[in-house]
Symmetry: D2
Subunit: 353 residues, 4 copies
């Protein structure tokens, strides 16, 4: 909200603003017509000006990091975005809710409905009573619940690309759920801004590899949402890979159809399914999306085809992991919760090249 | 101009919209509050939808490339941006002016006041009569002439970073003009989108080299503007290098002061010189800008210091070559020419990472 | 063969040496202890010194490009490597064979045994009589035939990574061939050095996308070799993607086992299968290879696991596309044909970072 | 030393082998005909196999990291390469010398002859008595002293590129030393392998910036060697920048000649100066080197020109910072000290692309 003439809508706080996701929320909220940022927190950098960490935001917005007092943050804003690691979010969210604030949690803490599943993949949960209330914030599937939610669990980046890529097929029962194979590739910003030898420039650049094979924490989240769509429990094989690029996730998804389909039919199915969605673009037959088409934007681009030689459906879905996979989707959720136009602050034209 | 509620201001055309600069103009104009794009041209791609060349613009704006008829373009718009190569612009600009249109020419054709200098570095000029009228479109130096101009010659990318980097020193007479050495580094988008073996990914990636040593066509343009500032003719040594990155120019500039200075004094000088400039950010003492701080934005970030060991001033200046170095500055010029707020459509927060 | 004291073994020519594969052959042959390069050809660059195209080879080897006269080349060497596009190789190969030369063809022209299949995917074949004689040059599978071959068809880059990745499983009949899904990712050097807008730095960098979906010409080659291993005709789903890196191919391969397996068993199977192979490294349980581990070397690194949740085998295989996927394998084949130690000239330690 | 038939020459140890420089020494020594590696140390990783840190070396050489006991290392080898940080080297070097070992120290500890200068830029020195004995290991300038040295201080990466770039001009007294300006650009491997937020992929990729402006520790080393060449004390302005690439340093150097020169004369001067040097390639008039021409090799490529417009000499010099700027030069020094052919183990053809 750079422009001063316009009356403020609401005030927001970013709880844990020192990471890539936190600063991306700032990038987007700065130009949001109905929401201004009034508080940013960071335990490590409290007192420091934002621009000392993020010089690109110098003179764009002038804020200092506050310490992570939930009371103080709550007193300064109407809605809180949490961009802290899992485990930390669950400590703060109950306090923000008690203070009457709306909450969009970008961590994993409230994404899984099943407490024991959460505790198997993450850690013990200190506010499991909120799991039932929290709404999984994928607007394309859960818009109505988001509208009235106090607490939205913002989806993970991989799950966003995958669930949007498979939703039409699964809801229509067109594929065998046991046949799903998901091969995903992510840019390096998904790993966050912590110092880490494995993420040094020289380790990632000119490289490419799978990681957390069979063990990535997004697996239960992906399966929860796909199971909901399928109407039964699904297990999928998901292999994430690390790309030598800053932003973006591309998921290549394979599945076996349960009945005769062709590409024209599939493209139509997807176009109809997403016809009213402002942020999902289904490509024409024969076209497939690349990371460069969505960089910096809230779009999810999807291409789909049927391989008649091997009888399989192939879906390719791309997002910017920091936007539709994190900060952009969080703002989309906030817009829905607050009754703002859903694309407020999100009319982001992709940056190319 | 996505938003429909706001009354259209003016209509613009992009003459030569198939290159990186043309599509960047589109990226920025799409969200411009007072200007919509009504015509885009391309000889090679006429009739094709914009999104066939630039899939990232799919569903953001729906336009087809028109052939390069200046009459038709003129009939469709109030202001014309030319993003064609030098030599082509000079053929079309007179026609647009005759048709009463305002023109921002992003080519080099009207940047040099001296016809013979132009012809020495470029080619013979077919409308030299306009050279005197054309205004060199660096708003920080020529804002008043731009305001009333019919024809603005939008500066080159290197000259923008260099002239802004040296203007305060030269205008104050604080450096010996003959001591200036400019070592510039540019991302690959500066080379355009023509097929070219030297610009293939594998040739540029993991590489770095100087090019057009002593022979880059921006030399006379740099010297023209620096000479104006110095009040006398200046020749400078300028060495451009090619970076393995998409966007950005960083110029490291060396000069010998004519009297005693220190860093605090220099930072103050720059801050005062640019105090009212919305797009120039002068960094604190001891800080120097990097490409990542301006990506996607219209900012020029400048750091300056005095090296007491060797008695030299060091200035580092960065811009996004496609924004402040091309399309963003073109829109800034158009805003000034049309009386719009100068930052209309340019409240671009840098994209990081 | 820099060192002069050692007696020359054989003389080789590179027919079509101006591309990335040609120059990579040069890089490797320069240090080969038993083979020197005596002729390099290029229609476009005839007469020019090698270093004008490839300055990194300046002062390392002094050769000028010759025109593509097969007679002249044949008169200068004992073995010929062809690194010309498909369609051109088939014109020259018969002449080299007639002249009594041994031939390693790096094009696709003699890889497919089935002429009509070749003509469906490529173009009409002018020397189909040699298809039966040509040996598919994957030493790990066809070493004995290579030993006595006059004409070796050097495998494609994708097929090398994939066939080595699947050979143990298929030969043992441990997977259902119809279940195979191959998701491959290649660096940009695979596209060659022709000027091409789609391969410009700015188009590839910070991007990632699938290409030639369901249509890549390596499909019949992959299927030919996998079918041989399986003992029956196989069709596979193969999706290539373009990575923003110079070198390397990583193939992620999925298949359903035909009987109970576990990871320990699979790793053992692979280690035994490749126990005598100097260039295949099977990783320990739980480890998976990345591109950075093989850059510049002739290694193929393979990791394998069984996902008990979904009942699938997962193989990840990496090579340097220009070495084991092209020039290195060609030299390995030449070594076998000539009776040299198989790793002559190929003791290449991977370059990292 | 893979090949077993050749009789072992000497045994070497790498003291501090876990960093990029240490592993690069291994890459090069593995194929050295007269030197094998018998000990590698790392405090942090003692007991671990080399391949757990550097999977690319898996099955190429089988060594485990030893703890950093100088006695044990000394007992296992004839020559020791130290690749530990400055401050640590000075503790170990005296012990290796006492044990009668030859030493090549890749740290900065013995590069500066002047103890107080060392202590001003680094830290207090615990074995200053060796500073006089240590030989600065730039073979092109100090070959004869290296031949008989017990202790060679291997040059820094920036100084190597700069001193080789300026030596002919300074030795001939052809430039005004006070006019020298050095603008250098380095790949990210120069920063080492320590976890460090500033060197994360996302911080470096698509970025470019100057760092340690006026404050880089290589300044006194550069000045020491340039002063030696000039025959008087020199101070230079040196600005290092960080490139988004793994390897390589390019230095662009500016100076004012003391008498009339032209480019032909300068190229001749350089060619004569380096005529017997196996690793310095002086380019033809009009050509300038890029990083891609030296990657993975021990070459230093130099281009030089005179700019008659501004009356300045321009030199561009490139090296691979990990080879000629570190490990390769260390082996070159060892070869000289041991009487091996100077290019033993260093016949490295640059890797492109």
């Amino acid at each position: 909200m750079i422009s001063s003439g316009i009356p403020s809508g609401i005030r927001s706080g970013i709880y844990g603003a020192s990471g890539y996701t936190g600063q991306e929320l700032l990038r987007l909220l700065i130009n949001h017509p109905h929401c201004e940022v009034t508080a940013i927190t960071s335990r490590r950098y409290k007192g420091e000006p934002l621009s000392s960490l993020y010089p690109h935001l110098n003179a764009v917005i002038n804020l200092n990091f506050m310490d992570a007092s939930t009371d103080e943050v709550a007193s300064l804003c109407d809605v809180v975005f949490l961009a802290v690691p899992h485990g930390e979010a669950m400590e703060a969210v109950p306090r923000f809710l008690e203070a009457g604030k709306k909450v969009v949690d970008l961590s994993a803490d409230y994404r899984l409905k099943n407490q024991s599943l959460y505790e198997k993949w993450y850690c013990s949960h200190t506010s499991p009573g909120l799991l039932a209330e929290a709404v999984y914030g994928l607007p394309e599937l859960h818009r109505e619940e988001i509208r009235t939610a106090r607490l939205v669990a913002n989806p993970g980046c991989y799950p966003t690309s995958i669930v949007l890529g498979l939703a039409p097929l699964l809801r229509e029962g067109l594929i065998d759920p046991s046949s799903i194979i998901i091969d995903s590739k992510s840019g390096a910003s998904g790993a966050g801004r912590e110092a880490n030898t494995a993420m040094l420039f020289c380790e990632v650049n000119e490289g490419f590899k799978a990681y957390k094979v069979r063990a990535h924490r997004h697996i239960p989240e992906i399966e929860q949402e796909l199971s909901l769509l399928a109407g039964k429990d699904i297990e999928v094989l998901f292999t994430p890979h690390l790309l030598p690029s800053n932003r973006g996730i591309l998921s290549t998804i394979y599945a076996t159809p349960t009945r005769t389909v062709d590409t024209v039919f599939l493209v139509d199915l997807y176009r109809n399914f997403y016809v009213n969605e402002p942020f999902v673009r289904v490509l024409e037959e024969g076209l497939f999306p690349g990371l460069s088409s969505v960089r910096g934007s809230n779009f999810c681009d999807i291409g789909i085809t049927f391989d008649d030689r091997t009888g399989r459906v192939l879906v390719i879905s791309v997002i910017d992991n920091l936007v539709k996979g994190a900060a952009g989707q969080a703002i989309q959720n906030m817009n829905i919760m607050e009754g703002f136009p859903e694309d407020s602050g999100l009319k982001l034209v992709p940056l190319f090249p």
